[in-house]
Symmetry: C2
Subunit: 161 residues, 2 copies
DNA sequence: TATGGCCTGATACAGTGTATCATACTACAT
DNA sequence: ATGTAGTATGATACACTGTATCAGGCCATA
C-alpha cells in the first residue's frame, strides 16, 4: 500500500478510520449471518476500500500479487461476488469496477454520484428516488426488481476548487 | 439475417417498420446536421436495430463478417461512437451492449427498462425522473451532467404470460 | 475418521475495449 | 489536374473484464 493515489478522498478525512469501520462492520455482519469473512475476502474488501474510487477487479488482482503468490481471476471474482451478495461492496456498472459500502444492513441498491474530476464516488441511497423509479416503471407495466442509477458530474469539492 | 431470435420483440409488431423508421430518421437527422451516415454506419445501425434487445459490439462484428470481409473491432466501435454521439444509439452500461433509439432529436440520456425474461429493453425517457435525480444530487452538492438509469425486472408481456 | 460442503488454486478461454499506424476517400482550393 | 486537409476505414496488437471447468484443501459435524 505505497501508492499515494490510492489515498485520494473527498475531504481530508482520516481514511484509515473509514477502512477500519468498514472492516468492523463486515466482521459483525458476517458473524450475525453465519457467513465466513475469510482472510482472502477480508483482504479484497480492504483493497476495495483503499480509496473512495471504484477499483477494478484486475487492480485488486495485481495488488494481491504484491503480498503473496498471485491468485487467478476467478479467486477475486468469487470474493467480490461474496462481498456484493452481503451488501459490503457495490458494482459500478458504468465503470466495470467495485466500491465499498459501509451500510450493508439495509438491503439496497444505491444511487451513485461519480465525479469525473477526482473520480470519487459517493452513494445517495435516496428512497424517494427509488420509489419514483419504481412507480414510473410500474406506470408502464414494468415491474422493476433492481435499479442501477449512476450519475456522472462534479462533486462539491471539485466544483469549488 | 436468418436468426429468428433476432426478431423477438414485445408485441407482435411489424419490426421491419421499426427498422425502416429508425433508418429514415437517421438519414434525415444526419442530413440536417451535415453528418455522414456512411454505408458502414448505416449497416451497424441496422444491426443494432435487429431487435429490441441490446446487441454486443462483437455480435455486430460477427454479423458484419457474414456479408463481406471481416472488419476489425475499432471499425465497429467507431461506428457505434458516431451513432451514440448523434443520439441514434444508446449504450446499456449494465450489459456492455447497444440499443437503437428512434427519437434522437431531444438531447437525452434515457432511462431503460430491461426485462430479465425476454431481454427486451424499452426506454422511459421521463423528465420527472431526470429532474428528480438532478435535484437530489444537487442537494448533496453534486452537479450531475449525465445519468445512467437502468432497471431490471419484468415487462408487461412477461408478467402476463 | 469419514463424509459433505464450502473455499481456494489453476488453466484455459470468451468477451469487451483501446492505442497505434496505415490507407483510402472525399471536398475544396489552387 | 494537382495538391492538401480532414474524415472514414483497414489492420495489428494489446489491455481489460469476466467465466467455465476441474482439481485440491480445509473444516465442521456425524
Amino acid at each position: 500500500m505505497t501508492d499515494a493515489a490510492l489515498h485520494i478522498h473527498p475531504t481530508g478525512h482520516d481514511h484509515a478510520a473509514c477502512v477500519g469501520e468498514a472492516l468492523e462492520i463486515a466482521e459483525t455482519l458476517c458473524v450475525e449471518r453465519g457467513a465466513r469473512l475469510t482472510p482472502l475476502r477480508r483482504r479484497v474488501l480492504e483493497l476495495v476500500w483503499s480509496s473512495h474510487r471504484p477499483v477494478g477487479a484486475y487492480d485488486i488482482l495485481g495488488r494481491l500479487d504484491e503480498s503473496a503468490r498471485k491468485p487467478a481471476p476467478p479467486t477475486v471474482y468469487r470474493a467480490l461476488d461474496f462481498l456484493i451478495e452481503h451488501g459490503l461492496v457495490h458494482r459500478i456498472e458504468s465503470m466495470n469496477a467495485y466500491l465499498g459500502c459501509n451500510h450493508p444492513e439495509q438491503s439496497h441498491t444505491g444511487q451513485f454520484l461519480i465525479c469525473r474530476e477526482c473520480g470519487n464516488v459517493t452513494e445517495m441511497d435516496d428512497d424517494d428516488v427509488r420509489q419514483t423509479l419504481r412507480r414510473k416503471a410500474a406506470e408502464r407495466g414494468f415491474d422493476a426488481r433492481s435499479q442501477t442509477v449512476e450519475l456522472v458530474g462534479l462533486c462539491a469539492n471539485c466544483k469549488a476548487g
